[in-house]
Symmetry: D2
Subunit: 345 residues, 4 copies
């Protein structure tokens, strides 16, 4: 299956390129850019990953975003900045070019499924609606912090029904793209503001945990309060989660649920699916971004410090995950794999 | 007034030494230590502050903790590690040697006031009880994170009555003492665990906001959930605070309360009191530890990002303050000044 | 004396503004900018210093670089980026507007003195030549790293005559301006390349240590090899210096020379001159940027680890100094003070 | 071949354990420790590597350093701290227990080869001398910084003959062991002193590049000056090298020599040998520790910024390599492989 990649030179774009190199199902044949159109990918990109640029893409010419350039691909991944994404992604959607987007532009559209493959694969049924309207198929995956938060909440929500969430984040530098945060701003410092992030957590989490209805997703009935903070960490977002449920929660039982979580992508054995999407660490000081971000190639979220809150319906924990792998490119690829397994693309 | 300092070589001890140099009311004449007994202070201390060691203390011999060594002082400050503090502090208390302690050992004792001078100066009335029992006078100041959290909560609690708190902290390295956190552990990382800290926040905050009763302090009726995290910042703790009140909160009114907060230490013009104990920043990305920790010599707490939470009784904000100045030595000195102004010592 | 400042919103520009606030001799009345023309300085600047923006400049309107805007000032300081500096600075020079520039554009021009006030104040005699040609007066101060290197070399060169220098630098982030180095690039890393820096060290050091001749400066006869490296430090450049001299060097005698160095700016008691331009630390692990950069308000260079090299004519040491104060704005102001004291402006 | 490991819980010891897991030739059967004797390795170690503790060693009991405990092994690796190493290593040597040591204790002994397998494998001929005296076999590998420096110098020395070296280092935190450098000391800072390091570079480099003679190694005739500095980098030492040779050096030819360097370990295809021991990067800002430390599993040294110095016999470059892999455990294992291939053990 030939795939195209929109915005392939940014930090998330690079992860797509890295993870699509030698992918068993997808062959990356088109990379688009903006300021670097006409250059070979190897020259165009300011490569920031530890591996080398995959040889097979070094000489590939970066082209501009256009339907013409995408006419020979079967699927398009989007790693566009949100502002630039909306117009062109809408064009793809209306032309019926299959799209899996990591951009935020379409995430909250009523007929566009916003999906973490392990959390709400059933939302992909919206694609049937799309077909009726002769649009799509299109699906999106959520913001990186929302992903690290919501993946471990899923089995807990299923068991105890979430009612309220207080979240504080410790977000890595790569989440700001490149060049991103100036080093002078963040060394010996933390910055307690990330534009748009808290609202994304509030909205996207409720959509992810929502239920499919006739004309879209009914958002989960859930109060969410979030404070998002940038910290001097290269990769790996961490969230401190204080969750309140409708029912009493037993910490040991909750831990068991997290450890045993093995939903559809794992059962299907999708190529990019980690063996266990949620890892639980029982050391008192884990998870930590530097040690846990690369768990199962960066596709697992690691949870720790599970403990009771102020009352028996309250559970506190900490979770960390790789923001550009599980939180972006890796998850979008996993989503496309799920869609293909379900013959939606 | 001659003062002695217990544990003068540690990180908090050094701050005491720095801040007591040329203090208008207190003359530091005795410094105790443990492994460095018999050395001059200048040799004994691994000085970690940016200023130089005050000349007048360089040649002062470090002595061991003993009543004998403290017989000529009118007041003792304690910067002892908590484990070592209890026994010797109790001895001082029973011998009637005035003590202001930054150690956690006695903070939760029923007849020992735990005081932030701007928050609960009325708790000092417990000293009358102490006198009746022929102990003390002794007072303590709270943990550094609790201080940064509770100081700005005070005027809000007075106006709206706190009901529930969710707190996540971003704590500086100096809070762990010296040598403290190994650099290999924290570079490109955060560590979501600080021994004992979350419990201190829960207990001490409730005592600080509590009310004086016959036999001690009635703890404030308040649910507190906290996650404490170490971050790679030299000095300055930051807290993300999600507060719920009994009454509706107006964000602008709350800001006004914080800005106008000018309690007893300010009215008395105590030497170490900042002009304004709470600063409010309206930029969207402030406060930040590196820029705001030294506000008014490190004695002010800076608040920002005041905003509504999920409902009208909920208020979210971020606060930062210097953990070894306002959060430790500076506050203990301010407390002693208040006690002297009230003739309690 | 009314002064104007070119490029007042950048990192060096801000230092000028901070240090010119309440200056006893200079009154800053004009600030120029580029993208921020028309805004008040308080809005225009992304302030990165720990102090607040001086009140008196908050409302000052940023104007563009033009002779018209500078017609009422007696002296111009330049903190322009080098590329932009050349043309406009040349215009000022030819119009006879007194200029003290921290930009690199004119540093190597034959009739332009490149001066560290403590090192080569005699080079200011070039201004007499300038007058003959109806240009200037104009003087420049060197690159930040060159300054930290050359200031302590001066008394050693006078005593033993430098022959060869091997230098490796550890340069702070603020030296790259703002936004400067992306945080993702430098966290848990060092970057062994700084554009143009090694050549500046080679050329400027030889000019600073050179001698005045009929038509300019005769460069010192000196081999210099340098490797410049960016490190994750906010402020304060450090250099490891391996120096070879024509004559034998005694380490103790060299230390004495450094400690006793008290040249013209100190003898004149210029307002910005530190009491001792060179501090010597004898601890085995000093100087260090975080502890020594603010020595005498950032105007002193701190030297340590003085030791013999492979032979008796070789001396090794480490030096550190504040790159935007002694290495830029502070030094330019000191230079202007020296020029004024000598009635050259 | 059964092997024992002395000092298996420290930072270098952990690397040995990690790299000996599933080693094709060596089976690790004994791990010694000091404070952790009697515990299982999994409990005893404060694991600081990103991989998990190898399963097969988790339950292995840590034993004390004694001949008795090593009686069933065919080879001993030592990762002991130098102070503790000397006495026990000498005992092993005199009992004829084969020893490959990363400790510095015996490195400079006249009959003990100090070997980088790619640099001076011929020095292993000293083992024949050892046999005559009924000691050993014993071999050591050099200090981490010396390794990163000397490996790329080897082909250049062979071609042009080194005469003088000026070296400045940028050394990672893991080089100080664990807990090592306190985070409060090094954040926003560099520390220009590492105990003993400069002397090790001076002596070990000359021995490594020396020649075998009747009674030991004749040190290379070479002036070395070094300044060693700790920087806030987790892993990967970088050195700035200014080298002077007896003969003229052509930069392109030198680069070719480095790229083509393929000595004995590579020709033999030893299991731990990297394909190319020296990598050359031509980007202007490489190598960098974070990007290049893991080159070929951390066993390659990466060189860049090759350029001419002040004269035609002078060559400047920068090199980086992983200090606990190539600079310690990995290199010791490679050395043992070479010794086994040569049937010396």
């Amino acid at each position: 299956m030939k795939v195209g990649l929109l915005g392939g030179t940014g930090m998330v774009g690079q992860r797509f390129v890295q993870m699509l190199s030698n992918h068993p199902w997808f062959e990356l044949t088109v990379i688009t850019g903006k300021t670097s159109v006409g250059k070979n990918y190897g020259e165009a990109v300011k490569w920031t990953l530890n591996s080398e640029i995959p040889e097979e893409f070094r000489e590939l010419e970066v082209v501009e975003n256009s339907l013409e350039n995408l006419r020979n691909v079967d699927l398009v991944f989007s790693a566009l900045p949100s502002k630039e994404a909306r117009e062109f992604e809408m064009e793809l959607v209306h032309r019926g070019i299959p799209l899996v987007s990591n951009a935020s532009a379409l995430r909250m559209e009523s007929l566009v499924p916003l999906v973490i493959p392990e959390v709400n694969p059933d939302h992909l049924s919206l694609i049937n609606k799309q077909k009726e309207l002769n649009i799509g198929p299109v699906a999106t995956d959520p913001n990186c912090t929302t992903t690290v938060l919501t993946l471990p909440l899923k089995p807990l929500h299923d068991a105890y029904t979430l009612k309220k969430l207080n979240v504080a984040s410790y977000q890595a530098l790569s989440g700001a793209g490149y060049p991103g945060v100036p080093s002078y701003d963040i060394l010996d410092n933390v910055i307690p503001y990330i534009a748009g992030e808290e609202e994304k957590i509030r909205k996207e989490t409720r959509k992810l945990l929502g239920t499919v209805e006739e004309n879209g997703i009914k958002m989960a009935d859930l109060d969410i309060q979030a404070t998002c903070v940038r910290v001097p960490v290269t990769n790996g977002h961490l969230v401190a989660v204080h969750a309140e449920f409708d029912e009493e929660v037993d910490v040991d039982a909750a831990m068991k649920l997290l450890k045993g979580f093995s939903p559809e992508p794992q059962r299907l054995g999708l190529p990019t699916a980690p063996e266990r999407p949620i890892h639980v660490r029982e050391e008192r000081d884990r998870p930590q971004p530097r040690y846990d971000r690369d768990s199962e190639g960066g596709m697992s979220v690691t949870v720790g410090r599970l403990r009771r809150g102020a009352n028996s319906k309250s559970l506190l924990f900490v979770a960390t995950g790789h923001n550009t792998i599980r939180g972006a490119a890796g998850q979008a690829i996993l989503l496309a794999e799920l869609m293909k397994a379900r013959k939606l693309i």
